[in-house]
Symmetry: C2
Subunit: 243 residues, 2 copies
DNA sequence: CGCAGCATTGACGCCTGTCAATTTGAGTGG
DNA sequence: CCACTCAAATTGACAGGCGTCAATGCTGCG
């Protein structure tokens, strides 16, 4: 039996390998500072002068943009191996806030130092460009989801994205803890916290996800493919009551 | 009298200078192919092998992403001086379609050739990185608008973005032609074409924009700041009848 | 033990999507 | 130059998804 639908978020099976090799390359070739992060720590804030790039070695971060009139918005989540700070290159100042959502370790390096290292070792430059490329593609995927999916489907898609990110990093994907409040998730997905809660409850009612006894932040996904089927519409929405 | 609100899209006044210098640098230092574009021409399609980067010398392009299950979405617009194709670096294949919306001229260069030129002339590398950085920031701004603004405000914001892009490129900003159908605009803004039409009509009723006699694609904006005030909520929505 | 933050659930209403009719405008051929 | 045709745009009626408001339950911590 072949896959009925391609999972929306399918990191290559060798993503874990890729990320490990990238981290190895960076730590071999670039002088790094290492910093322990705790939930709530600010890596950089909008307006700060740009001098450094960052690599998240472990943990979880959110990117928050704020408009001139005060609307703020989670525009990205970052996992182990993701790079941060590219937004500052063009203007010399960071355009957003970056905040830790969990404990972890952050690497930082001066941009000019990194470029010197790249000049000496071309594969390093390729890695940097690939990471920028990934950042661009990921944002576009987020826009696609925001514009084309219903609120419930966006929540399901978000869970698949999270699971896919863990899978690409070698962690278990059938059960994980969302290290965000419903309000943060809702902000990221362009909906209210109540809609997030209702969507999760609906998915749980349909047995497409489950909650553990440890609290409602820990999510179980028995079958990723079933969830993907819901996102692409091949499974009806969990609106009606189901037995 | 100081500005009541900062315009949401405010390219630096010297953006035109920056873009001209960038184009000059690229054409001086990198072997280019030049190609004439017409509306509908495809620059690259999703899945195509990545070998080249592109710079739009004149004209207008849209970026379209398609999900595995067939949802498609305009995720970006590009004007004179914008770079294209970064999405292909990470995977070696393009992740989206790029389609011309107007006649124009496109420059293309091999990525490896560009990198060789960058190795010889560091400012060129900085330019490339700055363009990638801008692409990341722009996508985030789009997400911010999608998630935090009402449909009518998104349309107003879109017009300001368009005007700002023209301003940064030295063109008149009080009157311009949208080279997209309502359906394309709606797709880009995450709403239906009817909502776009209603929003434009509402803004026109409020005299915040005007249509010329040449057709409903040409938009006049008498006061950018008034429109910006509407986006940030300091001016009430054009729902009710006015005078 | 009690408080404060987080999550769930229900009721209600509005924004915006859907469907449909009509008008406008552009392109084509007689 | 005008009639014809078709895509694009406008506008209205209606409904449903989701935001808003509010009450309640749950959990962790002082």
């Amino acid at each position: 039996m072949t896959l009925p639908t391609a999972p929306p978020h399918c990191p290559h099976a060798d993503d874990g390998q890729r990320i490990r090799a990238m981290l190895q390359l960076v730590s071999d070739r670039v002088p790094l500072q290492r910093r322990l992060l705790h939930a709530g720590d600010v890596v950089h804030a909008a307006g700060m002068p740009f001098t450094q790039l960052f690599v998240l070695n472990t943990g979880l971060l959110k990117i928050v943009c704020t408009s001139a009139d005060g609307r703020d918005q989670v525009v990205g989540l970052h996992f182990r191996g993701d790079w941060l700070g590219f937004d500052g290159i063009a203007t010399g100042r960071h355009a957003c806030d970056t905040v830790a959502l969990d404990t972890g370790e952050l690497w930082s390096m001066r941009y000019d130092t990194l470029m010197q290292a790249c000049a000496l070792h071309r594969p390093l430059l390729d890695v940097v460009h690939a990471e920028m490329s990934r950042a661009i593609t990921r944002s576009r995927t987020a826009i696609l989801s925001l514009c084309t999916l219903s609120a419930a489907a966006r929540v399901a898609d978000f869970l698949l994205y999270w699971a896919g990110s863990l899978e690409g990093r070698g962690q278990r994907t059938d059960s994980f803890t969302l290290r965000m409040t419903r309000a943060e998730i809702g902000n990221y997905l362009g909906m209210t916290l109540e809609s997030v809660s209702r969507a999760l409850s609906g998915l749980a009612r349909r047995r497409m996800i489950g909650f553990t006894e440890k609290g409602r932040r820990e999510i179980m996904i028995p079958d990723l493919r079933a969830l993907a089927g819901f996102v692409d519409g091949s499974v009806p929405p969990p609106g009606a009551t189901v037995q």
